[in-house]
């Protein structure tokens, strides 16, 4: 049951709106005058209630922030809203002709139509999906259809983090970035390294040895060298040669251990990154087409590449150096405290200043480097823009303008680079000096102590050497928190792809049909990629086995969407599609892929030989099959003409095929696939008339004996269709045979007329 806003229940009740009867609540958070408001639309089986507060909302919190009015699932009014004056309006559903949502820029307007149209409320973009639900529900009520209350249930309990109350920043991604269990992500990440337990053990061992041997050196170089060997005291009195030898040995050992750990680590890190990348790529292949269309391709590439690179650094540079540096800090501090705790405390005096300076100056440096980075990207964009568009630039004679454009970008980049370098070359020397102050203090204080005879010179040298060893690790640790959270976000994004559930998933126990007859029934389907933007509205059509159905209409009429739904690249929102009397949602994905072939306008040839491309659907086929398929597709002759024949490498970086040649290869691919149902989606739209005729011939051979759904702009390609459906704005407006439609004098006839005229203009007709 949807929650009605607390605080106004009683007032709603007085107006006849009972909590238990309410089917849906739509918060409308905008007023029509240009500000935020507090109003609600509530729908029960008989009435629409409009509750409006006169209070102007001055604090608005969108997704990604704490729900300011508590963590509860219920809709709570903002403080003060309960005291404001509310007006309630009750409209009987019988009196309403329709409720529609008008898409404004970044918001929606609810328009109610009774005697005339009336704007009753407005809401910001985040409530669009809920608003669409309200209109759907209203339409069902109006038609007296059955209502599944679950279908319209608000998803409120899932809209904000149960722990901290943050409204999830991304709809459908139930992850609260604040409460994301970083240690859980980290543990999962480590599980990738689990396979390499032995390597890890060795890495840690050698790192430890590397640190330990490294830490001996300053002691040898200080106390042992100066106080014992040169000072003629203790175990090493006078044995300068031995001490030097020891220094060399420890340095070499430290280096060798370092090299060994580096080598093992590099190998393991590359393996881990490999595992991550391949598991993400595998996971991506499993997902539905809609996932790829929601996330831009570039973003996906970034995820696979950058995020796994990020994690690789995490393994190579992160964890090991964290351990090494941590051990070093502890080790050095321990040794220093052991040597002289008072001097140690004095040495650590400049440390807070160093950290402070880093805290203050690094963000600035980071900002400047960001500015520089933006400058580079802008400059590169200008370069690539004008190189790609050279023909246009030349044709319009706009070289000077391009130079100017580049000059502007170049100048701003140069400025950004200068300020970055200036700041960098100021901050780093200051940091070095500050760091060295530690050493100077030791010299000063220690020197004084030496003169008093309290300290030995060697001890001072030891201290100084250790202090210099300390600053590197401290600097590393300073940045570790940011970097850790950055890495965990990258890991989280990668795991998200792995965990994503394909939207179009095969049902458990789905039916597998080896060979379908090819009967297609599309029953009253509705579909849209986004809420309130339906592409198909109540489309119905039937194709008998072996029939060819032509689908015509203007671009944007929903033709391609229809065929995408038949092959179940997406799932319909309402209605059903059946193949051989079985709903496509009940069929296995293999049944669909094996029995449906698509030849579309966008032809894609993969990297590889022509033969491999033709055999894409069935790599096991014989050479004979490939040649046969090419022959049927009218591709054989042009392939034979190529110097490398069927072995010609095509695709990125390979031989360039023309549009018609690519299309024939894709037809050959479909021939070899041998599906029962063939979808031709504007297969010849991008080709010139002559090539089209050649392809047409190939297609006709291909179509024989299959159920074919052909979409075409050019009506001449559909002359053999058994039946035609004409689509406009997502609806089937006419259907019948060519003759029937021509007799109707409707949209089809109009399209044919325009088509023929266009051919005449081209001088083809």
């Amino acid at each position: 049951m949807p929650q009605i806003p607390t605080g106004i229940e009683s007032a709603l009740q007085e107006n006849g709106c009972l909590q238990e009867n309410v089917l849906i609540v739509l918060p409308c958070d905008r007023n029509v005058e240009g500000g935020y408001a507090e109003s609600y639309l509530l729908l029960d089986r008989e009435h629409l209630f409009i509750a409006t507060s006169d209070q102007v909302v001055r604090h608005k919190t969108f997704k990604g922030f704490m729900n300011p009015f508590g963590r509860k699932k219920s809709l709570k009014l903002p403080p003060g809203a309960t005291n404001s004056k509310w007006t309630f309006e009750k409209v009987s559903i019988e009196m309403i002709e329709s409720i529609s949502i008008v898409n404004l820029v970044a918001s929606g307007l609810v328009v109610l139509k009774s005697t005339e149209e009336r704007a009753i409320a407005a809401f910001t973009n985040g409530h669009m999906a809920q608003a669409v639900k309200l209109t759907e529900l209203f339409n069902k009520l109006k038609k007296n259809e059955d209502i599944d209350p679950l279908e319209f249930r608000e998803d409120q309990e899932h809209s904000s983090c149960p722990k901290c109350g943050m409204i999830y920043p991304e709809e459908g991604r139930k992850i609260c970035p604040k409460c994301m269990k970083k240690h859980a992500v980290f543990a999962r990440l480590l599980s990738y390294a689990g396979k390499y337990k032995l390597s890890i053990t060795f890495i840690i061992l050698f790192m430890f040895l590397n640190s330990a041997t490294g830490l001996v050196i300053p002691y040898l170089q200080g106390t042992v060298l100066f106080d014992q060997a040169l000072g003629e005291k203790g175990n090493f009195a006078g044995k300068i040669g031995l001490v030097i030898l020891l220094i060399v040995i420890f340095r070499t050992l430290s280096m060798v251990f370092g090299v060994i750990f580096g080598v093992i680590n590099a190998k393991m890190a590359a393996n881990v990154a490999f595992d991550l990348k391949s598991s993400v790529f595998e996971a991506m292949q499993r997902l539905s087409l809609s996932f790829f269309q929601k996330k831009q391709t570039g973003q996906l590439m970034t995820r696979v590449n950058n995020d796994s690179a990020e994690l690789q650094y995490f393994f190579v540079d992160g964890i090991p150096y964290f351990i090494v540096n941590f051990m070093n800090i502890i080790g050095i501090t321990g040794i220093l405290l052991y040597l002289d705790w008072k001097l140690t405390l004095i040495c650590y005096l400049p440390l807070p200043f160093v950290l402070l300076l880093m805290r203050v100056s690094f963000p600035k440096l980071w900002r400047l480097s960001w500015r520089k980075h933006r400058g580079v990207s802008r400059m590169n964009a200008v370069i690539s823009d004008s190189v790609t568009g050279t023909r246009v630039v030349k044709a319009f004679g706009k070289e000077k303008l391009e130079i100017k454009r580049f000059d502007k970008a170049n100048r701003s980049f140069s400025g950004a680079e200068q300020s970055f370098n200036k700041t960098g070359s100021t901050i780093f020397p200051i940091l070095t000096i500050l760091t060295q102050i530690g050493g100077i203090i030791i010299w000063a204080f220690g020197g004084w102590k030496v003169m008093q005879g309290d300290f030995t010179f060697g001890k001072i040298m030891t201290f100084i050497n250790y202090i210099y060893l300390l600053y590197g690790p401290v600097q590393f640790m300073n940045n570790i928190v940011n970097w850790w959270s950055y890495c965990m976000s990258a890991a989280q994004r990668i795991f998200e792809i792995q965990d994503a559930v394909p939207e179009v998933a095969e049902k458990p126990g789905a039916i597998h049909l080896e060979k379908v007859k090819g009967e297609i029934k599309v029953n009253h389907i509705t579909f849209g990629y986004e809420p309130n933007k339906s592409i198909l509205k109540g489309v119905t059509m039937t194709a008998k086995p072996g029939q060819m159905i032509g689908v015509v209409g203007h671009s944007g009429a929903g033709k391609s969407t229809l065929v995408n739904l038949i092959s179940r690249l997406y799932d319909v929102n309402a209605g059903e599609i059946q193949i051989d009397g079985v709903g496509v949602k009940e069929l296995t994905t293999r049944t669909l892929r094996d029995n449906i072939g698509i030849v579309s306008q966008e032809v894609y040839v993969f990297m590889g030989t022509i033969a491999e491309n033709i055999a894409y659907a069935n790599p096991e086929c014989t050479v004979d099959d490939i040649v046969q398929a090419a022959k049927i597709a009218n591709a054989h002759d042009f392939i034979e003409k190529l110097p490398d024949g069927y072995d010609t490498i095509v695709g990125t970086g390979g031989h360039n095929l023309s549009g018609g040649e690519k299309q024939r290869i894709s037809i050959a691919r479909a021939v070899l696939h041998n599906p029962r149902i063939l979808i031709l989606d504007e297969a010849t739209a991008s080709l010139d008339t002559e090539t089209e005729l050649q392809i047409q011939e190939a297609l006709e051979t291909l179509i024989r004996g299959r159920t074919t759904i052909a979409i075409a702009h050019r009506l001449s390609t559909l002359r053999n269709a058994d039946y035609l459906i004409v689509m406009d704005a997502g609806k089937v407006v006419e259907s019948g045979t060519h003759d029937e439609l021509m007799a109707k004098d409707g949209m089809y006839k109009d399209l044919v007329r325009k088509h023929d005229e266009a051919l005449q203009l081209k001088g083809v007709g």
Binding site: R30, V32, E33, G34, G35, Y36, V56, V57, R58, H59, K60, T61, F62, K63, G64, F65, V102, L104, V105, A106, S107, L109, V111, L112, E116, E117, R118, A119, A122, T124, N125, G126, P169, E170, E171, P177, K178, M180, Q299, T302, R367, W370, R371, R374, S485, S489, Q492, R493, L715, S716, R719, H738, M742, V752, R753, K754, D756, E757, Q760, G765
Partner: protein
């Protein structure tokens, strides 16, 4: 496909097509002389152009970022253009106010007057701002084109839901504000 291709018919149709084309390219300009705007009881915009009554129309800006007052396209819900207003200022004040109200309805985007804080974390930037519509807190995806300059000075910010916010002139921001905003651009 058998279509009547008789020469005469084609010529007639061609002539018709030409006038169609001429109509299609001809822009109808709405002026105080040829149209009458009004606000309906249902708070919708209505317009009467010469003899024809359009009970519900919407105002679209041709240049929403660079020029809000010129080239306003008056369209029906089916995206059919009724006509274009070349300049809003040619109309009397009451009509200007009415059209501005409908423009504001369509292009509602609070203008940020003060940036209180921007926190960048976990691939999002969390904005805390004062705007012309009160204080607003919203979240923006990092690393995409969600914070971009639409003119030399005007910055458009689109949050995770697609809600829009504007900074009219980034040069008017204080140094501190600019530093925060810059990191998201």
């Amino acid at each position: 496909m058998t279509v009547d291709n008789g020469i005469q018919t084609v010529q007639e149709e061609k002539a018709e097509e030409q006038t169609d084309m001429a109509d299609a390219t001809k822009i109808v300009y709405l002026t105080t002389q040829n149209c009458k705007f009004s606000n309906t009881d249902g708070n919708m915009l209505a317009v009467q152009v010469e003899e024809q009554e359009h009970p519900v129309v919407y105002v679209h800006c041709s240049f929403p970022h660079t020029n809000r007052r010129n080239y306003l396209s008056i369209r029906t819900i089916d995206n059919k253009e009724i006509g274009i207003i070349k300049s809003l200022d040619d109309f009397p004040p009451d009509i200007i106010a009415l059209l501005e109200k409908h423009l504001e309805l369509r292009y509602f985007a609070p203008e940020i007057s003060k940036v209180i804080g921007i926190k960048e974390e976990y691939g999002y930037s969390f904005w805390d701002t004062e705007t012309t519509a009160g204080s607003c807190r919203f979240t923006v995806h990092s690393g995409r084109t969600n914070v971009r300059l639409v003119t030399e000075k005007k910055l458009l910010i689109t949050d995770v839901d697609g809600n829009r916010f504007l900074i009219q002139d980034i040069e008017q921001l204080s140094d501190k504000e600019y530093r925060m905003v810059e990191m998201c651009m």
